[in-house]
Amino acid sequence: MQTTAETTQEHGAIAVEQAHGHGDHPDHRLFGMGVFLFAEAMIFLGLFAAYLTFRSVAEVWPPAGTPERELLLPGINTIILISSSFVMNRGNQAIKQDDVKGMQFWFGLTAALGAIFLAGQGYEYYTNTFGLTDNLFTSTFYVLTGFHGLHVMFGLSLILLVLLRSRTPGHYSSTSHFGIEASELYWHFVDVVWIVLFLILYIL
């Protein structure tokens, strides 16, 4: 019994408590968020697998008559989204130094980059010469990018919520900033999903 009790300490509540310093109320929210994002990742994996299966069993891919995809705008969009993740991390670094102003600056910049990404995607949809129901490729294209776009929108709302809350003095500090860490984790997740999406939809 002693040996098993010792091994628990590694993954038990105690470790979390020490890491976060929340007194006798260990905070499991970030862990729970990670578990939830795992489930989210499985939806995307399922959709990616469906797309790759369609692709692999088709004789010609994309199906005949699909217009050539433009790469420049989505490429720029990809760079914008990836860099926003690094920008956002500076915000997290700032709050760890109790620098609320700095956090607000970096998070504001992230929100702007996210909005540019969404606007770029909207512009791409608008200028595309193919529609949702044209063929199997165009359908998967719109459903996958659209589903991802919804997640970007949700991530953007999380960032704006953090910015709104940070106007209350003392809401976030170097010891208590779950909202900042959670929204950053979510944003990185959305970012990674986009990289895979970009690779299989545009490059492959």
Partner: protein
Amino acid sequence: MSVSTLEPTQTPQPPQPKHPERHWKDFFGFSTDHKVIAIQYFVVSFVFYLIAGAMATSIRVELATPDADFLGYENYNGVLTLHGTMMIFLWIVPAGAAFANYLIPLMIGAKDMAFPVLNGLAFWLVPPGGALLLLSLLAETPPSAGWTSYPPLSLMTGQVGQMMWILAVLLLGTSSILGGVNFVTTILKMRIKEMGLYDMPLFCWAMLATSMLILISTPVLAGALILLSFDLLAGTAFFNPTGGGDPIVYQHMFWFYSHPAVYIMILPVFGLISDILPVHARKPIFGYKAIAYSSLAIAFLGNIVWAHHMFTSGTPGWLRMFFMAATMVIAVPTGIKIFSWVATIWGGKLRLNSAMLFAIGFVSMFLVGGLSGVMVASVPFDIHVHDTYFIVAHFHYVLFGGSVFGIYAGIYHWYPKMVGRMLDETWGKVHFALTFVGFNLCFFPMHILGLQGMPRRVVQYDPAFADINRICTIGSIILAVSTLPFLFNAVYCWFWGEKALPNPWNALTLEWQTSSPPIIENFEEEPVLWSGPYDYGIDSEPEEDTRSVADLLAEVKAEM
């Protein structure tokens, strides 16, 4: 931790901490208390069990004669679809969540779940989902493509009903995922300090494996249903061959969830049984680690066998070989469990009460379903019996003989803890006898029907099958009647049953260390882990006590 208990504390230095009383209204609103939520899950899922059970009985009455003369051609498919969907998503899955909600925090000595508000939210997705499914029966064309909703059939049987079905399953799936997040976090992070992973009751291990399965597979079903609804409403052709789509991709995505779903429905019950048998056999569990690890093994293997449902869907030969072998391998961890349970009760001092009868009934009935499972895992046999009543017999032995028997065992075992009153044993035994006889009479002959070639999902059949079908229908009526003694017992004893002591079964797990029913934050003081979960019949004093009775009495007197 729970919001409902955050009442203003007026006295700064109370000599005895006063616990707020439970109010009956708590059960009818948004609660964050895991015990209230569990009871809500129990009641709601049982109501849907009765509804879906009534549907099952009407299906059997229809099939008592070869002609379509009771439900008729118009209603049969809709009733069949909703029977399957509701039994799975509104009875067995939420009943598992009910036990998990009630037992996990108590078993690990926590005050509540890790995320109480999320927990309440997850529950409150269930009633709308169920209402939506019931309402879909009233749609012009109710969902009639079976619980699998394979395209292109599901794209041809009417938009409104099918879309309501999809939305309902998405709601119930979301509820299940949110529950899974909560269970994983609670089990891994909220145990009392002394409790290591290997000191947990086996139900917690089972729920850990179940939750992992939920988190891996349910989202993929959501993905499939999102694509299906685009096909249904927006005119895309993901699964529609006429537009260049591929219905087989739906089957893959669907079974990637729905095969693990079998384990999502049976693993919690495995956990319940592992906790019930040692208590009533008064013996330690046989092979604690073997049972714990076999749950994880089943969860892993359960994820890589889905295409055995698709042997007749044009699956290439080499792929069939893989899925056949992988499926048969699942018999190993499952067999480990069965042998461990038998070894647990072997030579024990059995108390043959209702809980134990249902638990033993579970082991034997599940064994039948498991064996026919190995049979249908083999490709040649499966091609022969695919879509026949043999399959119907097989999965009812797993889901009714397995899950439902186990859920009843759990209810008889933990009812005293949840309600604070004992269930009546005589009525319990009547319930068991009727269920056992009705179940076997209803489903065992279906094996024969299937081997003789009767297809499933038909309203009208060859008169040659009529005799056996009549036996099945008689069994189903006995089965329907068998719920009455249970209902009567559960309702009557809720109010007038004999008061239950905190630990009526002399069990060792932590939930029995508090009052029955437990107070609002579970334990008066932090519970103490003074033994392993299953150390029954082990002498804590290894040395022979040589003192005489007179000496002992003298000692007792001295202490007084």
